[in-house]
Amino acid sequence: MSRQGNVEFWYKTLEQGFANGDPSFYAILVALLVGIITLFVVFIRLGKKNNRRGILMMGACDGGKTLMFSRLTANKYVETYTSIKENTGNYELTGDKTGTLRMIDLPGHERLRSQYFDQYKASARGIMFVVDSASLQKDIKDVAECLYTILTDGFVSSAAVPILIACNKQDLTLAKGAKVVQKQLEKEMNTLRVTRSAALEGTSDTGNNNTFLGRRDRDFQFADLKPFTVDFVECSARGSNGTDGDGELNQVIDWLQKIA
């Protein structure tokens, strides 16, 4: 049967079906339509790449995550204590990009960190790592360890989630600048990647994550973490006098605009 004959045959069948008004014919037609629509919807969903809208705010305790969260979501100054649970809220984008980002402020306490990170990492569009620039000298080991766990995480490295290291508390006189923070963290990460890759295996079969960060032939640099982009910015969630509408988060907001 020729191609034209084939088309003709189907056309005829269709015409006949309409003429007869056979209910089963209509049923088949509707079913076909529904199937096609469903396929379309599924394709559209899949085609829309990276629909993760969450920005995880992480970092050690007392870094100023919750205050920054409050500043970004409600533009309000609040007193805070150690978080027991996560805070979530929406951040409205301004400027050329529109839409909202879901800000998720995770507790920084060691006991809770990993649990909440595992819970929320799948929705991470970006990770904001908040560092207390004033007490960095003292807490450098803990801060670096926390950052190391994030960087070596399977999901984060496979999805190449962009990371912002926000050097908070710039309002304090003894605060270190972003350059110094970066240098210190790089130095600490350099030792940490040696000790951590030599750490013992876990008790279960899964083993521990022994990814080696950066390049083996030279000292650790954030620039070497190829799939990642790690940015450093200075900011101050408290601002000069701690009132509503205060606070210097311009660079953080720029970053949010960039990755949105």
Binding site: E79, Y81, S83, K141, D142, T191, T195, T203
Partner: protein, 632 residues
């Protein structure tokens, strides 16, 4: 009189705060959160920090925390009630905002707070002005004691009743079988058989009588002193009435009663099957853990309770259940919690730790709104799982290699002391740790401070020789990687340890591992010696070596070791145990409870896990794997 009253969300955002002084309270509140709420010590709500006493209350429905702080020297009796009042008032006033999760508004609560505080303080003043009356029975220590013991009984009796019921059913079967056989044999007459059955049922009646006894003081509790005569059960007269055992049940009356009361048990059992079809919710979760026969019986009270409730509201309740606006109360979760506690104990968690954990979970869940398709059992289970993971995740960084590296830069040896009771594997695991350190390029000095047990030094010497054979000096620029420092037997361990640390410093060795003699926690002279060793040497890490096989004993060992180190050091801030080595982990299968008990008591992380006899059998603890084994 209150220094601070603050209301904040669980996320850490302060909603409202009252402060009577200009002191900074943030560190105190943070300390409360870190050392009480996050350590799963939710059962007790008071906490002392420096000169302050802090009390807190969790509101699980709206995820709020209420904290009050006052000077430790003040005895404020109204605080607990006041916390409750404020909680109610605050919830009422801002219900709409709280339900919508709108925490960014301004909460002008100061007026209400001041009125409530004034009322509370006035009440106290009035109380104080009244002539002092004698303590009533309820206030005395004694009444508390009775209540406490009663609660224990209450927990136990229902279980025993169930067990007895089960036994009754079994006994019935056995008796029936016996009847059949004996009838066919014709050796026993029917009268004896019935008596036998009665004897068995008579046994089963006893717990019911006990229950009646324990419940009655509950009812009489408020009557005051009268209740005391119930302390150890009823009078002789009542006992005869309540005793349905075979001896008294000889008469016809007794017999009838026995039979009447035993029959329903069968009906109950028959009912069980029919009901579980409709109300299967709770069972689904629990069916994994319990044997079927047990489960049927244990679930009954819960099912019946929910059935009773649904009858009251009819159709509406069905929809309500679907929408999931059910708020959890203590009673709802108690049954599931009891079961969870038993499960934890069966997994080798120390009994009182299991109870405390369940208490903490209860405080966390009380008032929480149940999600749409969540059952009580699954909610409790998830919360318990979270709590256990949280407990087992270390509260501080543990990276021995990093710290040893830092010590090396400072030109001093990194010192680790291993202590523990006899035969838990201190020396074996010390050898494993030194192998791991040597593999990572550290030079190790082993100090043989077990100067007591015969062969202890020789054991370490053998290990040293073997380790040196595995890592010969030729591979490490001609340096001997492992050395042994020993002074023979019978000397003072603290002195040897100090000499060893000095030796390590002089010869530029990186890590000193101090092996101590095993000692029982009750042996005071030896505990004193250990405290001295630790005080003199100030090691970087004090590791307690404990075997994973222990159950309730773990609590005793660890508390006594910690106590001894605190008592005998005569220092302001004594060195306590910094970490735990859990040995013989390969022998326990899924009974991983010791890990939970040990971390709960000390709050310290499990640094190493020993899983075998060879040098490579040293692992890190995987908290998630342990918890899933625990709740399996």
């Amino acid at each position: 009189m209150l220094d601070l009253f603050t209301i904040f969300s669980k996320g850490g955002i302060v909603l409202w705060c009252f402060q009577s002084t200009s002191e900074i309270f943030t560190p105190s509140v943070n300390a409360l959160i870190k050392s009480v709420i996050l350590q799963e010590r939710g059962g007790n709500n008071a906490f002392d920090h420096e000169a302050l006493t802090l009390k807190y209350k969790l509101d699980n429905e709206f995820e709020l925390v209420f904290v009050v702080a006052y000077q430790k020297i003040l005895q404020l009796s109204y605080v607990d009630k006041f916390l409750n009042d404020i909680q109610m008032e605050f919830r009422d006033k801002y219900k709409d905002d709280l339900t919508q999760g709108n925490l960014s508004r301004n909460f002008n609560f100061t007026e209400d707070f001041k009125t409530l505080l004034k009322i509370a303080e006035d009440n106290v003043r009035k109380e104080a002005q009244k002539p002092k009356v004698m303590k009533s029975f309820e206030e005395s220590q004694k009444s508390k004691k009775t209540v406490a013991s009663m609660i224990e009984n209450k927990k136990e009796t229902p279980k025993s009743v169930k067990e007895q019921k089960k036994k009754a059913a079994e006994a019935m079967k056995v008796a029936k079988a016996a009847e059949q056989t004996t009838v066919s044999n014709g050796t026993l007459d029917e009268e004896t058989i019935r008596k036998n059955i009665e004897k068995k049922f008579g046994l089963n009646k006893k717990p019911k009588a006990e229950k009646a006894k324990t419940e009655s003081p509950d009812a009489n509790k408020k009557k005051g002193k009268q209740a005391r005569k119930w302390d150890k059960g009823g009078t002789a007269k009542e006992m005869r009435e309540l005793d349905f055992s075979a001896a008294n049940g000889d008469g016809d009356k007794g017999k009838d009663r026995d039979l009447d009361e035993t029959l329903p048990t069968e009906e109950d059992l028959a009912m069980l099957g029919s009901m579980s079809g409709n109300l299967g919710d709770l069972e689904e979760e629990s069916s994994e853990e319990e044997e079927e026969s047990e489960e049927e019986e244990e679930d009954t009270p819960v099912q019946q309770k929910s059935a009773g409730k649904s009858k009251g509201f009819g159709m509406f309740n069905v929809f309500k259940g679907l929408v999931g606006s059910k708020t959890l109360t203590r009673d709802d979760i108690q049954d599931v919690l009891n079961k969870m506690r038993d499960h934890l104990i069966s997994k080798n968690v120390a009994a009182d730790i299991a109870a405390k954990l369940c208490d903490s979970v209860a405080t966390k869940l009380e008032g929480k709104v149940l999600g749409t398709f969540n059952t009580v059992a699954s909610t409790v289970r998830n919360t318990l799982q979270e709590a256990c993971v949280q407990l087992l995740s270390p509260k501080r960084r543990i990276d021995i290699l990093r710290d040893a590296m830092e010590a090396k830069q400072q030109n001093r040896p990194y010192t680790i002391v291993f202590c523990g009771v006899n035969g838990v594997g201190k020396s074996t695991n010390l050898a494993k740790v030194s192998f791991w350190l040597v593999e990572n390029g550290f030079r190790v000095l082993i100090a043989a401070c077990d100067t007591f047990r015969a062969g202890a030094v020789e054991q370490l010497r053998t290990h040293t020789r073997k380790l040196n054979a595995l890592h010969p000096p030729t591979k490490h620029n001609g340096m001997q990687m492992v050395q042994l420092y020993e002074q023979g037997y019978g000397k003072d361990a603290a002195g040897i340890a100090m000499q060893a640390v000095n030796y390590a410093r002089d010869y530029k060795l990186d890590v000193t591992l101090i092996d101590t003699a095993g000692r029982m926690q009750d042996n005071e002279p030896l505990m004193r010696a250990l405290a001295k060793l630790i005080k003199v040497n100030q090691p970087d890490l004090v590791l307690f070596v404990g075997e994973a096989l222990v159950g309730n004993e773990a609590v005793d060992q660890l508390t006594k070791f910690n106590q001894a180190l605190a008592d005998h050091s005569q220092m302001e801030n004594p060195r306590l145990i910094d970490g735990i080595v859990l040995t013989k982990f390969d022998t326990i299968d899924d009974k991983v409870g010791a890990a939970v008990s040990m971390t709960y008591i000390t709050g310290q992380p499990i640094v190493f896990v020993g899983t075998g006899q060879t040098y490579t059998d040293l692992k890190n603890l995987n908290a998630k794997a342990v918890v899933s084994a625990l709740l399996k």
